[in-house]
Amino acid sequence: MLNLFIKDIKVGAIFLWAVVPLYVVTALQVSRVGAGFFWVNVTCASLLLVAVSMLDWKNEAEPFVLSLPVTRAMVVRARYLTAVVVGLLSLVIGLAIGAARGISLVMRAEPWPRWMAGDVGLAFVLVFAFIASVYLPCYYRWGFGKGNVAAALVLAAAGIATDIVGPAMPGAASAPGGGPFYEGVPRGQVTQGVARLADRYGMAAAGLIVLGLAAVLLWVSAQVAARACRRQEF
């Protein structure tokens, strides 16, 4: 599996050189306007994940990869490992840019930005894990074209649903519209939910809950994706 992961990194390195500098410049600009920066980070991380899959599709490389001494389950697990690394890389870049922005604000005697905090980082982990958990099974079940459409529909539906259902949940009365607690927290039920979790139980407990949830999401998704990949014929 490690060799497949290294293959993904070597093959995808071209995107790191091409996309990451562009990502950094965009993120630096967006960080001026605060909370929207979170969603730029999520989008860039997701695009990197899609790009790695696109390379397999564009080069028709699946038969080559599957003719190597590997099982399909290994191929799928390696892609999840790639997703985790892509997520962490994006998080590190996001944290670095956020910290730079925060320091520049403090140096101008302005307060540290609310969106540059541990709970927002945890929300990033959860949101990206959810996106990868939806995207990869769709990719392995339907391929790059149809899989992307299916994943986009599911993710859009999930986004709309959380915006509709979230405010109606018990205890969420003060959530919509922000209020003082949510001021500066990136918009979205997940981000605000994680912020509330961290506020109520402390950052360490919230971290454990979020990381556990992300791990469960990815594990279940990997089982589904491996099953879908086993059924594929090339």
Partner: protein
Amino acid sequence: MDPILELRGVTKHYEGFSLRDVSFSLPRGYVCGLIGPNGAGKTTIVKLILGLAHVSSGQLRVCGEDPATAEIAVKDRIGFVHEVPSFYDHISVEALASIVRPFYSRWDQPLFDALAREFELPTRKWFGSLSRGTRTKAALALALAHHAELLVLDEPTSGLDPVFRRELLERLVAYVADGQASVLFSTHITSDLDRMADYITFIRDGRLVFSSTREEVFDRWVVVRGDPGVLDEATRSLFAGVEVGAHAFTGLTDDAPRARKHMAGRDIVIEPATLDDIMCYTGRTC
């Protein structure tokens, strides 16, 4: 010794096409030509061997093992060259070798380097910038460099110049000479097989027509040519395929002695069939 490749009653169903009840085997140390017209099922067989498609029923064994249960061990012993080798276009041949190397337990880097020199591969160029023939050479170098016991080649010569094509065929004969490795060579360019193949397996419409040694094939199969007037129902029944023109007919039979006996004294010519003849006339009834 176990055959290196064995198919017993292998069936594979697709929508609109089925490979049905195919059985043949390939002993170690031999080259088997897998022939058949386009759409006959050759590539399906190759995909089943490589695990790119699943067997619907029947038994497939590679190096004595079932690829479904010993996938990694089996693939470690197979080298594969596709008709149009597809790797990653933005990766150099050198980088590709560094990606492939750790997967194989018997990767031989000095051998790969020697093959790259011998094939004059531009190892620092991106794979996507190479000509089709050079891509095939690169794929062949990758397949040979891990000492594969079974080389599976799917139409490998179609993009090659005549000089390298001949060198490739000679190399394949040398590759199996020590009796440890075998080659399954899927092609519709039958002239490639005339001299080098030890076994010929002929697939048509998803069914096995025959799988025999080359000598048996050329001993058994003959082409009969003559005046269409000699064709009657009994004569037609001799042929696996027959084509009737205005002035002559051409019939193909796999029972040369019977054809000679039945048509003795008639104004006909009996010639050994080529693999092209066998592919072209089998099943033809006009």
